[in-house]
């Protein structure tokens, strides 16, 4: 695998994905062998909106490879607050680091940034657009638990604004996966993602109720329905309640159903699911470090 930048999961072929996941498995099996592999490498962290898990897992990943981070810090304390453009900010900071990680509230920010920098750029979420590194750790978790071929997956929640969903859906088109999307009508997949899935010839069905498809699923990927998307609080509560999963809900599922969530969750997965064999979301979160180590290892190559 050799991409200058990872902006969207659409860039990734099946071979690319398997290369990253295989490397992550090697790291999982023998973390010590990778400890100083990128000693001296610096990863630039540009987080223009708050993030805990993604930012910390990138930081942990580069440090476990022997490198370190240079962190822009919060937007409030940066030159962005003075009105500097993103294009200017990234052109300056690329001079400080061997690779950059960008989280930005605007869609297309990573695509634009990629036009301005020469060091490898990783999109860590751009508005409601894409989140390809999350997708790689999702795929790693799916492969470990259910396999990636002959897979029936349900993806449920806010599909319209959920960037993790968009990236996962694109990546799954590389595999023999049947994708079922479950959401309220108002939060269905955006037109652009449906267009891409259609162009890729993906097997896709859309539903408004989980019960329609639950018993067929190998994986149920749940995302948060975001309260702020609803102008009316009552409308939010009416809809969100329809998309909550608890242990009773899962009684109708296959015994080996894998339940995933990019986290943080609010109440869309009840705590009683945590004690079932279905719960895989914490394992999924932990996989962020070896998968991001693998990705950095491959992207940095000999450049560090």
């Amino acid at each position: 695998m050799r991409h200058d930048h990872l902006v969207t999961a659409k860039q990734l072929s099946r071979a690319d994905i398997e290369t990253v996941l295989d490397r992550a498995a090697e790291i999982d099996a023998d973390p010590g062998a990778f400890r100083d592999r990128h000693a001296g490498a610096l990863l630039g962290l540009l987080f223009f909106e708050p993030s805990t898990r993604t930012k910390m897992s990138f930081e942990a990943a580069i440090k476990r490879l022997g490198g370190d981070v240079v962190d822009m810090g919060s937007v409030e304390s940066s030159s962005v607050k003075k009105g500097e453009s993103l294009a200017d900010t990234v052109r300056v900071i690329e001079g400080y680091a061997d690779a950059l990680v960008l989280r930005h509230p605007r869609q297309g920010a990573a695509k634009m940034t990629g036009e301005y920098v020469d060091v490898p750029l990783l999109n860590a979420g751009d508005g409601a657009g894409h989140h390809p590194t999350q997708t790689l750790l999702d795929l790693y978790t799916i492969r470990e638990n259910a396999g990636l071929d002959d897979l029936t997956i349900g993806i449920m929640g806010d599909l319209k604004y959920g960037r993790t969903v968009h990236s996962l859906a694109h990546a799954l088109t590389n595999f023999d996966a049947h994708q079922h999307f479950i959401s309220p009508e108002s939060l269905k997949l955006p037109r652009s993602v449906r267009y891409d899935l259609h162009e890729a010839g993906a097997s896709v069905r859309e539903h408004t109720e989980l019960e329609t498809v639950l018993s067929d699923l190998d994986v149920l990927y749940v995302t948060r329905i975001q309260r702020e998307r609803f102008p009316d609080e009552n409308e939010y509560h009416a809809i969100a309640g329809e998309y909550q999963v608890d242990a009773d809900t899962l009684a109708a599922a296959k015994d080996d159903l894998t339940v995933m969530h990019p986290l943080p969750r609010v109440d869309e997965i009840a705590a009683d699911v945590d004690d079932t064999d279905h719960a895989t979301y914490f394992e999924q979160a932990h996989n962020g470090v070896p998968v991001r180590m693998a990705l950095l290892d491959l992207l940095l190559g000999d450049s560090a």
Binding site: L86, R106, Q107, R191
Partner: protein
Amino acid sequence: MSEHELRVSKIRDGTVIDHISGGQALNVLAILDIDGTGGEEVSIGMNVPSDRLGRKDIVKVEGRELSQDEVDVLSLIAPEATINIVRDYDVVDKHRLERPAEVTGVLTCPNRNCISTDDEPIDSKFAVLPDGVRCEYCETIVRDGIPDLIDSA
């Protein structure tokens, strides 16, 4: 030339844009950034009968030949249009529009959260699909209302 087309006067030098979809003539003027304040001599026929389109619009612009960028954007809203270049009352070049693969810097993305609408040093960029356009930055697909996205509209 048909009787209907004679309703719009002939021009000496310039461009005749014919076979515009009925009702799109004002959008064509917007693309050409013509609003009357520049003193251009323009003739417009709207919703005149057409064998090919049923109803069509015609725009004749005196003293001006179109740039490729203008032609590219015209093709998005008037794919059936023909461009006639007129010199000394004679049509010296006549061609159908061809849809480009991409248009740059002429449409504004309708997604207010798209980076291309922010104060960044980039031009908007849209891929041209068979039935619409797609922002190259945020990937928003627009099928209807493309004229509303024209910067000068």
